[in-house]
Structure formats: structure tokens, C-alpha cells
Amino acid sequence: MPEGVRISDLRIIRDGKTIIPNLTMYIDRGKIVGLLGPSGSGKTTIMRSIVGVQASQSGSITVFGRTAGSKNLRTRIGYFTQSASIYTDLTCLENLRYFARILGQSEISVHEVLELVDLTKNQKQLASSLSGGEKARLALATALLGKPELLILDEPTVGLDPVLRRDLWNLFHKLADQGKTLLISSHVMDEADRCDSLYLLRDGRILAGGTPQELKEQTKTDDMEAVFISLVEKI
């Protein structure tokens, strides 16, 4: 199995405040890995680091064996940011067409991703008139363009209705089955059960890592919220 994502001794200080003291983690290829923790625990910073847009004090990150941020990784990573980074003064279709042009993708792929996030009927609508959930799905569609091998999704299911959330998780599993690697962050603990493996984060440190089952057995609890609390109280 070729290399996935490897983070070694990552240290990030922002404005004199230590965000990530010292982080080492590994993400397997073809897996859905969850990054769970409360807001402010460093999830977004870690994701930005993997994508290569976060300056760090020390440590190293490689994606598929190459240094994070390398030129040849740019078509291989799809990134979904929390604040939907889309052009609100363009229609859904215009947004996707632009990103497709940058990626060298065809018109067909634009319609494919629209279908995947269930926005085909909204394609001519201005992004500013979409609901919060629809905006998030449009941003997700831009991340899916070009079938990237690694998807970094920062809280992709926040504010979505349960049916859509289930559909998206089904999509994520389908992508993982095709060999894609997914790193998904969430502050909702019940999403943890849908991941192949998990990292629980707090204050930039990893509290624990493993499959959901392992974590529950380790803490002798049966839901993720309890796992988290038990781990925090143990320190």
C-alpha cells in the first residue's frame, strides 16, 4: 500500500499562542479518517497544514510521499473549507465551470459533481441566494471536481438535514471504496461512528486514536460523547 498522509512533530505557533504543540499522525490511503474535537482544538489548522497553506514552526508533512504543498499535489487534493469558499455573485454552474477550467476538467465533470451533491436543479441559481447547506454542498462539489485522491473536508455536514447528511456519508464511503482517502473533521461526536478510524483532539493534542470500536472498548463506554469525556477526565 503506497503512503498516505504522514505528519511528524508538527509545531504551529500563531501570534505567540501555541496552536499545535507537537503533533504526529498518520492517515491510511483508502480510509475515512475522522478528526474530532471541540471548536478551537486545531482541526482546521491541521487540515490547512496538510493542504499546504499553513505556515509552521517545525515538523514535516508528506502527502503520498511528497512534501505538503508541492506543485504536483495540486490536482490530487480536494479541499473543502468551513466558510464555503465560493463566488457568491456567480451561479452554481459558473462557479463549478471556473474551478473546472483551472483544473482542466470537462463540462461533463461539472454536471457529475452537481448531481453528486444534489444541486442540479439549482444550477442556474446565484450562490448568494442558496441556503447555508446548499452553499456548503456547492463548495463540496468544487472539492470533488477532478476526482482528487485525497479529500480534506472541514466540517462538511454542519447544518445539513439528516437525510442529506446520510446521503453524503454514503458518498464518502463510496469514494473510500474507490480508493480515495478522506480526512473529515467534525465537532459532532455521533459522526465518529461513520469513520474507519478516528483521532480525538483537544487543545492541539491527540487524546486518542483508533477505530470507533477500539476507542469505546478502551474507555468502556458505548457512545463517542462518553469516550471523549472519559479521555479528557483521565488526563
Binding site: 497553506v53 499553513q54 479541499y79 456567480l90 459558473e94 477550467r101 483551472i102 482542466g104
Partner: protein, 242 residues
């Protein structure tokens, strides 16, 4: 360098403009309105109108393009779309050239319309070539665009970006020779004005209006400023941030 990505970016920006008809209307109507007011302000001094209007023909589009581009690029920096783009296979130069192309087209349309109105219904008469005057106006608008893209990197908010208009453009206007011939300025100010792009824009306009003197040197210097500012604008884009 990919034409597809540059042109794709330009098309995207033009589509954004198209969805904003009020901005388009203001871009075109504001300078036309200003020229018209100028005409009637100087109703009893037609000679002054002839002198001032030609010079302002390039200045108005420049101010408008400066504002639109500085706020436009700033918005892209702050909304997260720029960061989102720079992790994709687009280079910083391609991104800036996309902006230059889109706003260059907008500048072309604007400068052509404003010049045509001034030379036509408003009765502006010049000794030199009318076409050349339009070319100068377009160059001025492009210069405003390039300065706008560049200074937007020094602004964190839209408030700051707009304040760069009096801070960056007005000193150039005062020193450009538009109000007072450069020859009669204190030598220190004249030397400073030698290094400001607007000086050459105004110089070119005055030559075209008078119908004498070559504008080649002015155009070359303006082109250098234009490319220099665009390249500097590209350098200010950062893939990695704190």
C-alpha cells in the same frame, strides 16, 4: 503559463461583473456625468474646458478602475476564494493576468465610451489624433487597475482599500503637471514626479491635445509601470499564511 487558466479567470470576473449591473452602470455613467458637469461648469470659459477635459478624460477612468480592482481583489483575498484557488494548479501570475485581462476589457469599454461622449456631444476639440486620445485613456484606466491590484495587498479591509485612493493617487495627481506645469514646481517635487506613473499619463495626454511631440517614450514608461505593478501584485499573493 496557461491561456486557459488566464482566460478562465478573466471570464469568471466578467461574469461576476455581469451579475452586478449597477456597478457596470456606475462605471460608465459616473465618468460621463462628471465630464458633462465639467462642460457646464466652464460654460463661460470654453478654453479652460478644452484644456482640463482632455486631461481628466484619462483620470476619471483611472480612479474608477482603481476603486473597482482594489476592492475586487481584496474581496477575493478576504473571502477565502484566493486561498482556495492557490492550492489548485493556477500560478500567481496567471491569476493576476486573469484580473488584468478582465478589468482591461472593462477599462477599454469604459474609456472608449467616455472619450466618445467627450469628443462628440460635449464638443471637446483636440489638435492631435482622437484615436490616440482614446488609447491614452485606456492606458490610464489600465494603470489605475494595476495600482489597484497592487495596493489591495496592503489593505486588510475595504475601508483601508478605499483610503488608498487619496493616499496613493491624489499625490500623483497633484505632482503630475495637471494643475501646475512641472517646470514651475520646486525641483524636489519635480524629481519625485519623474518617478510617478501618472506624470507620463498626463504628459502623453497633453502632447496628444497639443498635437505635437512623440508619445512613444511616455507609452513605454507607462507599459513598464503597468507590467512592474502587475508582477509586484503577483508577488504579494501568498500560498502559505500564518
Amino acid at each position: 503559463m496557461s491561456i486557459r487558466r488566464i482566460w478562465g479567470t478573466a471570464r469568471r470576473i466578467l461574469s461576476q461583473l455581469r451579475h452586478d449591473p449597477r456597478t457596470i452602470a456606475l462605471m460608465i455613467l459616473a465618468p460621463v456625468l462628471l465630464m458633462t458637469i465639467l462642460k457646464y461648469v466652464y460654460q463661460n470659459q470654453p478654453i479652460v474646458f478644452q484644456r482640463v477635459a482632455a486631461s481628466l478624460l484619462g483620470i476619471f477612468p483611472m480612479l474608477v478602475m482603481f476603486l473597482i480592482t482594489s476592492v475586487g481583489t481584496l474581496r477575493e483575498r478576504t473571502s477565502g476564494t484566493l486561498e482556495r484557488l492557490l492550492i489548485l494548479p493556477i500560478t500567481k501570475l496567471e491569476f493576476i493576468l486573469g484580473y488584468a485581462k478582465a478589468f482591461g476589457i472593462a477599462a477599454l469599454i469604459q474609456a472608449t465610451i467616455v472619450s466618445s461622449v467627450a469628443l462628440g456631444p460635449l464638443g471637446l476639440k483636440i489638435a492631435g489624433s482622437q484615436l490616440m486620445l482614446i488609447v491614452v485613456a485606456i492606458l490610464d484606466a489600465l494603470l489605475g487597475m494595476a495600482i489597484g491590484i497592487f495596493v489591495s495587498s496592503f489593505a486588510k479591509t475595504e475601508f483601508q482599500a478605499v483610503q488608498f485612493l487619496p493616499a496613493v493617487l491624489f499625490p500623483q495627481l497633484l505632482l503630475s503637471g495637471l494643475l501646475v506645469p512641472r517646470g514651475s514646481m520646486p525641483s524636489i517635487l519635480r524629481i519625485i514626479s519623474d518617478y510617478l506613473p501618472l506624470t507620463y499619463a498626463v504628459d502623453a495626454t497633453q502632447k496628444v491635445v497639443a498635437g505635437q511631440g512623440s508619445v512613444t517614450r511616455d507609452f513605454l514608461i507607462l507599459a513598464l509601470f503597468l507590467f512592474g505593478l502587475l508582477a509586484a501584485g503577483a508577488l504579494t499573493l501568498k500560498r502559505k499564511t500564518k
